[in-house]
Symmetry: C2
Subunit: 477 residues, 2 copies
Amino acid sequence: MAQKVTPRSEDYSRWYTDVIQMADVADYSPVKGCMVIKPYGYTLWEHVKEGLDRRFKETGHVNAYFPLFIPLSFIQKESEHVEGFSPELAIVTVGGGKELEEPLVVRPTSETIIGHMYAKWIQSYRDLPVLINQWANVVRWEMRTRLFLRTTEFLWQEGHTAHATKEEAEAETMQMLEVYRDFAVNDAAIPVIEGRKSESEKFAGAVNSYAIEAMMGDRKALQAGTSHFLGQNFAKAFDIQYLDETNELQYVWTTSWGVSTRMVGAVVMVHGDDLGLILPPKLAPIQVVIVPIWMNDEQRDDVLAVVEPLENKLGEHVRVELDAREGYSPGWKFNDWEMRGVPLRVEVGPRDLKNDQVVLARRDVAGRERKITVPLGSAVERVVGMLDEIQTGLYNRALDFRESHTYDPKDYDEFREAVAHGFARAWWCGDADCETAIKDETKATIRCIPLEQPSGQGRCIYCSEVAEEMALFAQAY
Amino acid sequence: MAQKVTPRSEDYSRWYTDVIQMADVADYSPVKGCMVIKPYGYTLWEHVKEGLDRRFKETGHVNAYFPLFIPLSFIQKESEHVEGFSPELAIVTVGGGKELEEPLVVRPTSETIIGHMYAKWIQSYRDLPVLINQWANVVRWEMRTRLFLRTTEFLWQEGHTAHATKEEAEAETMQMLEVYRDFAVNDAAIPVIEGRKSESEKFAGAVNSYAIEAMMGDRKALQAGTSHFLGQNFAKAFDIQYLDETNELQYVWTTSWGVSTRMVGAVVMVHGDDLGLILPPKLAPIQVVIVPIWMNDEQRDDVLAVVEPLENKLGEHVRVELDAREGYSPGWKFNDWEMRGVPLRVEVGPRDLKNDQVVLARRDVAGRERKITVPLGSAVERVVGMLDEIQTGLYNRALDFRESHTYDPKDYDEFREAVAHGFARAWWCGDADCETAIKDETKATIRCIPLEQPSGQGRCIYCSEVAEEMALFAQAY
């Protein structure tokens, strides 16, 4: 841990992989494109899971589990779906020592197999809505991979719901987008823009795809969650029909929505700095670390006599760790926990004992301001309050950063400049040709057509034709 | 839900699959040998996970995640391991549209890939012990499958630990066996016998395997959890070495241990009856169901005015559901919830309102004794107390059942009779030939050599040679 990460300003991409490896978040595996999520990173993911799972259950969803393997013929039933996913499939051709009659696809997503089951389970309007989520691993064969952001195998949740009416399914799609926004903002401290995907960026098989988009520390965009209104596309492909109240056979309307381990990458990129990770308290595996300071055995005993009860008291409110390791200097420990992004450090040394005080050091603030001294007696209360402050502070800082790098270019020249340095809001005529030309010329894509729109019309930033909607453009991961 | 399950006495195996399907625990999938775990069954599994995960964390373990795919060459590195697992492998040969250079195995278990990573992570005695668990799906190509008990894909947890000394690794192996026993007894209400596996039944690659064995309702045995002492087998195969305190290079000692969705099958078979599931309160998705009874709208309003606040009050202590569905008779609802094994039912009708009382009906007791009337004011307290009683009652009933079907045969004739009807405790000389002969002649296998042994020696039940240990024999799933 004496190592230092590559500075962000020098090479952002190397900074990212350095931090992830040095902070023990994840490691490369011997399998191409697959990673190992180490305990520290997995605990972070467990907190992401808990935050999302709670929200899913509060909105009436239940978890289930569907098979990892999908018959190849299923993938081929929905025409856009097969086109989108075919190039990315991992295929099992041998099982139990024998060549399989029908190859099995390792699920890239589960609309098809779940569609097949829903056709069996749903008979009547009384069976609707079906509100199911699955926590699972999925596989998409990727050529260029990057830890958490794009890996051949990744972990995610995929919600799959079926409804009697179009309106209900659309409302569900938007509700889950809002659940993702709420999680990103309140738990991950990541400001996001909610919007609709353009035709060319939408999910293969969806009528409309929606996403939350976030700005990373290098001012590129990351799609951090998606919610799809699938219309009756999968219902028709898999024959999911129900008898309505007038005894007529109707196709259901379905949705799907997902957030993946990519969210961990977003947390790293939005909050981290050149010292390592900075974790929002709500997701941090360890929220507070106590580092005792001593020069000799007597001091050691005196300090431990204070910090051990303090650890217990803090433990009733927060996730705390006491770092009483021998053979490491306090300075080494400070660096170690800073690398791991622990939001708050409590330092207690012999001088603090004398003064009946402790020092609190915030991970999210640089320089002298990061440290304050508080009476031992109010340490618990101050720690809890400061964690709230850090959570809010991280969000506000990320929001400021995004806002100061989001532009409203007046013409295409300004636009090119804007997307080279951040996000650009611009009118778009809706024509895929303009979208493609912009991408070819600037590498920027339409991240989304934000739900929040100005009134009136404008002129397309590329072709100057009349445009009804503004789009958010950016280079993206 | 007007359907009835096949009686256990008529066809136990059909009873089992009937109950699982009619109680919405799981369903067959279109993929051979794979099942779908439905929301009700998955919630049960979530409670199993929580009960185990809490115990793992209390004993110092952390979760991580390793890749689904394992290079085929890894499986071949440990000679016993490859022999044991080769016939069961699912193999990916195509990825991203291309034939792979090295085929990838879909993990049947993860000792090999984790061994590879541990070799990279472990350098010094300071890095030990490594105490990691993984919640994951695994695939073993099975010819004859059965819901939950033997499926091609299943969910499980696999713990993988590495230690500096043999003694520590052995202690870990036994500690996790004890964790499994504690979970089975206290959460699943399933009495189990802890013991060592014979050479022929142990895990492929282990020095010693231990298991908890339970008796199902048809008096067959089910292995419900295993803990393996792997010695230095995988350390040597994957070169996992550390520098000890004297700066010498040493191989680590490893363990692995697992419990799977099989545990759900065990819960069904140990507790269920001809009306359906009976779930131990600690694992039940719904612990208490309130069924209001009314004949007309006025009564309906009166009854709901009482049961709705009751649901809220109960909800502070237990997992409760109010079944206020219209269009279903109380009798139909009783059957429906009995099928799903909800431990306790609260009935409230107009007559109960008058008398300021509610009726509690236990799922685990048959006949008139199952119902008692309690004052509305003490309903919450009585419900909580009765759930404890049901939890204990289920365990005791299962223990009685096992004890009354466990025999100590005096000779081989009695032994044959015994294993046709239950468990047999018998001396065994340790010779694999006797074990095989017994299996061929009686279908009974050595489930384990119980940790608890009588003092002294005996004579092998098969060959009459001197025997040092008693073994537990039974027909098994």
